[in-house]
Symmetry: C2
């Protein structure tokens, strides 16, 4: 994996990640393919929308279908029919979110499967091994994810453990090789809750470990939005400029623009896909709940400035009908549009950075996104 | 609407229906788009598979979104984003299948909505009016559908009522015009349960009413398969050769081949789409339940002779995983494949008829379809 920083506009960055499964212009939004599939959309449709990279969840794929099945089927790319880049998370976020977390030691973390109740133990080394079997283009180190709020002492201990795990992950990756002939990068993860000092020392220590990229984890877990922005900024000031920065699990369109302004390159979030399946649409003029009765005979498209399949071919009235009638097609059309919107947002942000006009573009865009101009039209 | 009978091979027929929304080679399988959408597949995907006509349900669309919404949105074609041909049923089958059928008189039928419990009354005239508002290319007359078994006296009375309704429907259609500038054909429906005499006189009387096509209703409701074939044959011997014949709600691949052999041109059935959503796949070598553990690491496609998107890109192991994990993508890929299989079946039947080899092709195909050669391969 290579990263080229092409241009900066103050702290905002336009770049390009090159993987053995294609190149990824940044800033980039990565759709979440939890179980080896982005929900309710086909791989060819993701390609059509311009997706260059999707996320897979190590925790979920390890439990089902299991690492052995994915290996037998030639790795996650071949198994899932997705030939562009894949980033796999470490499973840390899922394991630490579980009700059935059984115990954490310096060695690793024990947990119970949400699928069948079986007990498993993840170590940093084990998690690298799983991601080798998955064959993702970008692997993530196992990290400890604290809930919000967390006491400072707890956050310090946890960040130290995460750093130790990062070192072991780096070592494991250096001593193992990819199975499928394509290279696999490894990203470190900065933790430390909302404590600037802990985040700073974590970022500094990780920066010395020569990862291929750096993620900022443990945010978007309930802290005030301003804390998220501040911590992201503290981290990007320390992390090496020549490596991509990934803000995990973020976020709303507004969050993404604010984070880009602070030097973040990569994002992932379930919002566009999950909101879509709940009949909530993102548009250039604000959000739209298609179940609203005002749209019953509304012949406008979801977003008249959008060129996705959904907006080119279907009215709000029809899509509302699909949701009211419980038709799967509603989920499909919503997923296509909302992802199209997120890709448009990142594409436009990149264009604005390259044109040295990110700040004005961002200010105008935020005004439009917060407007409520979705008037129905019969 | 025009129908050209191009070739016959004994009783099997190859033809072409021409509508203002494109031409439809026959024999044809029509996917069921109950609520204005074929479940779990996009209109562009139906086009890609070669679908030339889909079915819409008058009963469902009348109740939701309602005739006024469809009219306000320019008719069912524009509303649903489907620009090829549409056949709408009369709602008769749904109304007579309801638990909450309130009463039937010679004038029409009263029923309660399954959506909101409201009471409605369908007359033959009303049902034509609704289909005018939907703007389908082929409208169906309101008919009385008896359950199986039905006593002969009851079947006789019911078929007489259905014939009277057919006359009133014909008259209503003759006195009204399409709303959207494209012509709308009207099909009569032969009823009469499994009683040859009633079916014969029904078919004869309907044949005299000059419908654009003729359907055989009230079959595939629990009667022995041999009765279905026999009744279909009795009807096709009487119905005018220059008009298309439509066997409603049929059926399995085997049913379709047997009916084509007896002179049927058109079919509709929920089997390929519904079975698909239940993880049951049709293949050239028999049926396949993808949830079977034997497919856990099976790298074969669903049907190696199929060229659909599903079979070109995904393994049985992956599709099994999607169903086990509850991913919507599983429903999408299953629907694409099963419809592709049904279209292939009708296309091949037509080719065999045109090549004067329908009987041998049918015999060979039935053997293959009943085989169990879906061996997993790791």
């Amino acid at each position: 994996m290579m990263f080229s920083l092409l241009h900066t506009c103050r702290k905002a960055r336009a770049g390009e990640i090159t993987t053995d499964h294609g190149s990824v212009p940044t800033p980039v939004f990565m759709p979440v393919g939890t179980q080896g599939a982005v929900k309710a959309i086909e791989p060819r449709e993701l390609e059509e929308l311009g997706a260059q990279i999707v996320l897979g969840n190590t925790y979920h794929l390890f439990l089902r279908p299991g690492t052995d099945v994915v290996r037998a089927c030639g790795g996650l790319h071949r198994f899932s029919g997705w030939n562009r880049a894949i980033l796999t998370d470490s499973g840390g976020f899922q394991v630490f979110s579980l009700q059935d977390l059984r115990g954490i030691t310096d060695d690793g973390v024990e947990f119970k499967s949400h699928v069948d109740g079986s007990t498993h133990f993840f170590t940093p080394e084990h998690v690298v091994d799983i991601q080798r079997a998955l064959g993702s283009d970008i692997m993530m180190v196992l990290d400890e994810c604290l809930p919000y709020p967390a006491a400072e002492g707890e956050a310090l201990l946890s960040s130290r453990r995460t750093l130790a795990w990062a070192g072991r992950s780096r070592e494991r990756a250096d001593r193992t090789s990819p199975y499928y002939g394509s290279s696999q990068a490894l990203f470190g993860i900065v933790q430390g809750s909302v404590y600037p000092g802990i985040r700073q020392s974590s970022a500094e220590e990780l920066a010395g470990m020569d990862f291929d990229g750096y993620a900022i984890g443990g945010l978007s877990v309930g802290e005030p939005t301003e804390s998220m922005y501040r911590i992201a900024e503290i981290c990007t000031e320390i992390l090496p400029v020549e490596k991509p920065r990934y803000l995990m699990g973020v976020g709303t369109p507004e969050n993404i623009l604010e984070a880009i302004e602070r030097g973040i390159d990569m994002f992932d979030c379930v919002l566009p896909t999950r909101n879509g399946r709940n009949a909530l649409f993102f548009t250039r003029r604000g959000k739209l709940n298609i179940r609203n009765a005002a749209h019953a005979a509304d012949s406008l498209p979801i977003d008249s400035e959008c060129d996705c399949y959904t907006c080119r071919n279907f009215s709000r009235a029809y899509i509302r009908h699909l949701f009211k009638a419980g038709e799967v097609l509603g989920l499909q059309l919503a997923t296509i549009h909302n992802l199209s919107f997120y890709f448009w947002l990142c594409r436009e942000a990149r264009r604005a950075i390259l044109a040295d006009e990110f700040e004005t573009w961002k200010a105008e865009t935020l005004v439009e996104l917060s407007s409520a101009m979705n008037q129905p039209q019969s």
